[in-house]
């Protein structure tokens, strides 16, 4: 955790608040080496199943699709803040 503050406390708070049992963590490339540390801390503190998203994380628009089909209750995505869509979709 040298360069960026991962705010693990906020992540733990959200997991407890939502009662999520299975979560997916998504990290930008610069934070992917921290995945083990974040994963282990979340498992230890919340006793949840934590899956790590392997793919890209270019922005808040680039969230993994189809996670509910895999019974993921919560996605925690680092490195971005909420995205304000400019045009209506579809």
């Amino acid at each position: 955790m040298k360069l960026y503050n991962p705010d693990i406390a906020k992540a733990i708070e959200k997991i407890k608040e939502t009662g999520a049992k299975t979560i997916c963590i998504q990290l930008p490339d610069g934070m992917k080496p921290y995945a083990q540390e974040i994963h282990d801390e979340l498992v230890k503190s919340t006793n949840t199943k934590v899956l790590i998203w392997l793919g890209s994380n270019f922005g808040a628009c680039d969230i993994p699709l189809g996670l509910p089909k895999m019974n993921i209750d919560l996605l925690i995505s680092w490195g971005h803040n909420p995205f304000h869509k400019k045009m209506d979709g579809w």
């Binding site: 959200k14 969230i63 209750d73 919560l74 996605l75 304000h84 400019k86």
Partner: protein
């Protein structure tokens, strides 16, 4: 499913490096357009006071898709998305971007393709991680914009257009894409769906003269070379005549 976004702010000092300060002094910069990526944007106080000491006026804005003022996202790469008035833009001598990498500051390069009757502004990048300064000067900006101009011209004369629509949140622009058919009744449009843009599939559709990208706008800008037939973004397709008008910066570079 719930989603939580965490900014992951930079934990080090966010300040101007010596090289940036020297550049600002030697180029007599008195007004800058200040932007930063999310890791730095909530910690700009030191930089603002450094700029005040140099008597430099700061202009900034809340771009369309961002969450806070002065934040810069790669996708706010159209001039009107920056929400700067023309008088504010004219006052700015140079942009100052705080952050690392080229992805975010290049939104300011691409936004300048929409300029009318004014010249482009350089972008100073100050990276608080490496404590380094890099400059995207006017010549670099013009050379990037010229490549895109070629695709815009191609679109203007093309008869058969492939429109790529993707399903990521914030994209999904099928409805907006259909409006192209009304705007350009002399062109034939084919609409393609994809998860992400599959560049290696494009050559399987040789009947397409040029592509319109409706996914992340940066795909249509940064990945120009992967579209061998050329590609432009949806917004630019709608505005192509204005963007290529005589007064446009693209026609003067």
């Amino acid at each position: 499913m719930d989603t939580l976004f965490l900014d992951a702010p930079f934990t080090g000092k966010v300040e101007l490096c010596t090289e940036t300060i020297t550049y600002l002094k030697t180029h007599n910069i008195t007004c800058i357009g200040l932007y930063a990526s999310v890791q730095f944007v909530n910690n700009l106080d030191t930089i603002k006071s450094q700029l005040a000491k140099l008597n430099i006026t700061i202009i900034s804005s809340k771009a369309d898709r961002t969450h806070v003022t002065s934040q810069l996202l790669g996708c706010d790469s159209e001039l009107n998305a920056l929400n700067l008035s023309s008088s504010e833009f004219n006052q700015i001598q140079s942009f100052l971007y705080i952050g690392d990498g080229r992805f975010h500051p290049y939104a300011l390069v691409y936004a300048q393709k929409d300029l009318i009757a004014t010249d482009v502004k350089p972008i100073i990048c100050n990276d608080p991680i490496s404590k380094k300064h890099t400059l995207t000067d006017i010549n670099i900006i013009k050379s990037i914009l010229r490549k895109y101009r070629a695709s815009l011209m191609k679109f203007l004369v093309a008869k058969t257009i492939g429109v790529i629509v993707t399903i990521k949140p914030g994209q999904e622009h099928l409805k907006a894409s259909y409006r192209l058919e009304t705007k350009f009744p002399d062109k034939k449009f084919y609409f393609f769906l994809d998860d992400v843009v599959s560049f290696n599939q494009l050559e399987n559709f040789p009947f397409i003269d040029v592509w319109v990208n409706t996914s992340c706008p940066r795909v249509g800008l940064d990945d120009q070379e992967k579209f061998t037939k050329g590609a432009i973004n949806l917004n630019d397709a709608f505005m192509v005549r204005e963007v290529l008008s005589k007064e446009s910066v693209l026609m003067k570079i």
